[in-house]
Symmetry: C2
Subunit: 277 residues, 2 copies
């Protein structure tokens, strides 16, 4: 099954649009894992076991492992999810982008070495940086469109004639780059007005939505802006707010509670909007 | 010494603007290294030993190591250069870009884990993706501006009012992002007209120039367009044309010859242009 179909199935079968982002900060681990020789993997495993029925996917973030020289833990975390919970897809969040021959190497990195089901990519270098990823037709290719960070607008909201750059990217992604039908977009939760416009341009293309929680995005506004025609359409990521809900021995249980709250809040907004459609 | 000063010193002391890009393709290695247990490192070491007096820096490309699950070879290659030829700086070409907290992790990856002297970064997400890198004041931060690939113009030449996006990026990099004076730009050799305009906007900011050789850039046009006020200003990268000049046992010697030809061609153009200034 391809990535988008797997996500759509989770939206329905598990009734959740929540994605848990796996960003290890060992200084925030409970004390028994802080100096554990395999602490990063054990932390992730506990979070995954505690939340797997509540998520539509997981999203490990590459840099958080790379900065700790812990890429082996990244690989084993993804393998653990795929072996133990094969219905739950994994996004490798690494925001790659390079000339075609090099982009092919990054596609191998994501899909062959780390066995991810999807990867985030940066569109600044154009189509030849995207095509080597979309060539893997069963994989998801999640193109940065309008990101959630404070500086996002600096380039992304610059206007080409009347059209902001993020809409140019959304248009290219929907109309020109998507021959294999496996592109998704990153649209930040801090930009719900932009999200509404991107939804209008892209039909039911799924969006990966960072920026809920620590970054301050408004969940109700996001769901209202981004919901697709089927009542789903979003992969709503939360990382730190879930992972570090407790820094004590009960961290996994606290992560589950926090995830459940987010899932319930999403469902409530979805039901409310669908009832008014 | 900071990265830009180290490059400027190499331009003068070694009289070379050439950078050798380290992109391992084991299938193109000579037969004795193809199945060698440490073939990637041994190949790089031989190339480095054969060319170190002819280069202003080296540029290992991250994806080529990551796709081979050979990041340990990347780390050891950089360590080898720094220990053996400490005057020759190293650019980690990984084109990173993410929200601020994650960009900090990528800066750690490049500068702490891999011990690179400079790193390439992608500007699509704006200033908060750049600042965590420039915070390392002795390091070089090389921002993608106008890249060398065929699809580069798709976004980078889109016009904001009358100004193409790559010039917006060049202006931000020169005027707003560069408090620490450690930013450089990527300007592809396949875009010499754009390079001329970027040079006009950025004073003597150094450019990393990919696209000579396999990608087809014109050396004379590039040097004419990009030379700075001192007669240098460019880091002219060549990877495959040098690394695989011979795929036989004489590969290192052939790489040296190819590098020497490029160095001499650069010097000739520099002299010619300076004589006519």
């Amino acid at each position: 099954m391809n990535f988008i179909a797997a996500i759509q199935q989770r939206w329905v079968s598990a009734d959740t649009m929540v994605c848990v982002g796996l960003d290890p900060y060992p200084e925030r681990f409970p004390s028994h894992l802080k100096n554990h020789p395999d602490g990063i993997f054990e932390f992730n495993k506990a979070i995954i076991d505690a939340t797997q029925d509540l998520v539509c996917c997981y999203k490990p973030q590459f840099a958080h492992f790379a900065a700790l020289d812990a890429l082996d833990s990244l690989k084993r975390t993804i393998a653990y999810i795929k072996n133990t919970y094969p219905d739950v897809p994994v996004i490798l969040d690494s925001k790659r982008g390079d000339i075609g021959s090099t982009a092919s190497m990054y596609a191998k990195e994501a899909f062959d070495i780390y066995q991810a089901d999807a990867v985030t990519v940066n569109p600044y270098m154009g189509i030849d940086t995207i095509a080597p990823f979309t060539h893997y037709q069963d994989k998801g290719v999640i193109v940065l469109c309008r990101t959630s960070n404070p500086g996002a607008a600096e380039l992304q909201n610059q206007r080409i004639d009347q059209t902001p750059l993020y809409q140019v990217v959304a248009g290219l992604a929907a109309d020109q780059w998507n021959d294999a039908g496996n592109i998704l977009l990153v649209v930040g939760a801090t930009a719900d007005e932009e999200m509404r416009q991107i939804r209008a341009l892209t039909g039911d293309m799924p969006f990966l939505v960072p920026g809920i929680g620590a970054q301050g995005g408004d969940l109700a506004a996001v769901i209202a802006a981004g919901m697709d025609s089927t009542g789903n359409g979003l992969i709503i990521n939360s990382s730190r707010a879930i992972l570090y809900a407790s820094e004590g021995a009960d961290f996994a249980q606290a992560a589950r509670q926090e995830t459940e709250l987010l899932v319930q809040a999403c469902r409530q907004e979805q039901r409310r909007i669908l009832a008014n459609r």
